[in-house]
Amino acid sequence: MKRGDVHSCPSCNTLHTVTLIESSLIVCKSCGTYIHEATGDENTPEQSKMPDDWTFLKIGSTCELPQQTFHLVGRCRLQLRNDYKNFWCAEYGRGKCLWIAESFGSFSIFLSAWEKFAGDPAQLRAGASVKMSNELKLIGEYVEKCEGISFAGEIGAWNFFTPGFFVVQASATTKTSFFFLEPKKNVSFLSGEKILAERLNFKNTIEWNEWK
């Protein structure tokens, strides 16, 4: 789905205009139905209600950096066995997309696109060294199985719609990467940086006043 395309919800016929240059999925703002154009490469998304949690971000929140403002347009929530990860799709610069990963007040930002991992997937273990380049080696932090996946809003380039894949996060100082491993498929990863919430300067967030 391309920026400017208008898609009608197959369930309630609500019209949705694509805001991202490349969009994988739109969740109907009226009825929650997934609007998705199959490319043949990925699984058909299974509809799953977005669980209620304590994240203070929402679709419509902004991240105001000195030179650029990012608008959160979509959310992909991964339910892992012992954790959760919210991947927030942030739109900037007329339809470009970056990902902000969030979990229990920790944030990472991913400006680069998905890449295929050329290394040995057996490297992707907790405590093991993952060679990303001659200069950069990451250390595996955890391996978690994704048991549930839910979407909201508009999702940029994304290939993982069915739970059951494994997520590995590996980091070194502020450098961090998320690896997504599906059986019998290539390993995809996102590379970015860990960042403090204060630096992301979120606006229009959920207040949760009882914690203030």
Partner: protein, 416 residues
Amino acid sequence: MSGSSYTIACPKCQTVNTVRGKAMTLALTCSSCKTYFGVGKWSKDLTTFGTSYEPVLPIGAKGKIDGKVYEVMGLVVKKEQKYKYDWREYIIFNPFEGYAFLSEYNGHWNMVWPVDDVPPLAMSASDFVDEGFHFRLFQKYKAKVIYAVGEFFFDVVHITETTFNREFIAPPLLFALEKSDDSVLWCKGEYMTPSEVASAFQIPVSKLPSKTGMGYTQPMMGKIKNGAVVSFSILVFIFLLIAQMFFSGSAEEKVVYQGNFFQADLKDQKFFKTSSFTLEGGSKSLEVVVVAPLLNDWFFAEFSLIDETTGTETIFTKDVEYYQGYEDGESWSEGSTKGEAFLSQIPAGKYHINIYPEFSTSSHEFSLTVKRDVAAWSNFWLTLLMLSVFPIGYFIRRNWMEKKRWSESDYSPYEY
């Protein structure tokens, strides 16, 4: 607990539990049958505990730590698998900060929170420096959950049983490494006093377990840091030296009287009387220097410094003796022909001195010099000694307590 409509039915007794942590909660104990269970479809195990423990921080209680409000979500009691001691960990939560733990052992508390900034450490290292603090390995252990109540953001029972833990301390700080086949988690922690915990959760400190022994991250003597003691001591010593140099440099050492006295001039009198001299300024010191040309002899005198206005007498004595000889091929000498008497706090005014000498057989004369405002170095050395008491006492006590702290560890750098 308030404000949540998120519910989960207990798989054992079917009681519907309201879940405060909403979808973030991945394990909980049933409020009715106290069975511990995971909420995911993948988690089938049910755990019941053979013991129970009443949380001193009630589940659902809110507390403010470092300006952030946290809510107590759950409590686990863990037992170490080698030495069989147990401790309690309260899991606390804030939506903006994530979760943290308040760990209590023998009445000593630590707040521990997961960190993204992993300390610069090879996995096998036994010590490392982080932000200027030297962390040393204090313990390695495996643990088991013997009791749990409330909600958890992960399967605390399974994770506790499958992780191997290492803890590094630089009191009041600690780093904890929890490692399993699937996860490497670093947490940082800091000691909290029971009164800080009680104040945070607005409960009486008497309700918390009383402290026994020494906490492994308990700071000594409040929040004093070694570096700060050293830096401040150096600063104070430099200040003292500058002050002494200033006082020594600015001391007038003004000769207000000088005279020579001969036994022959005494005639029938028992004493000499100096001419009057004036001491200026406020209260200052006075040094009386007596020089007698002696050889293997002594000279003694009693002096009376008389304030001619008030009649106040300051009486003091001075003896001078000097001996020398040649014995066993070596020459020797003892004493001096010169002696000083120091008078403290002599007010300004007009004075003279009466001198009552005792001449020996060969000593028949002496000279007298009176100096006003003479600096005393002995005060400097005594002040230095007094100022050293605190840092020396601190480091002696620190060493003693460190040794005591590390006596609990298998990795103590001390010998016992």
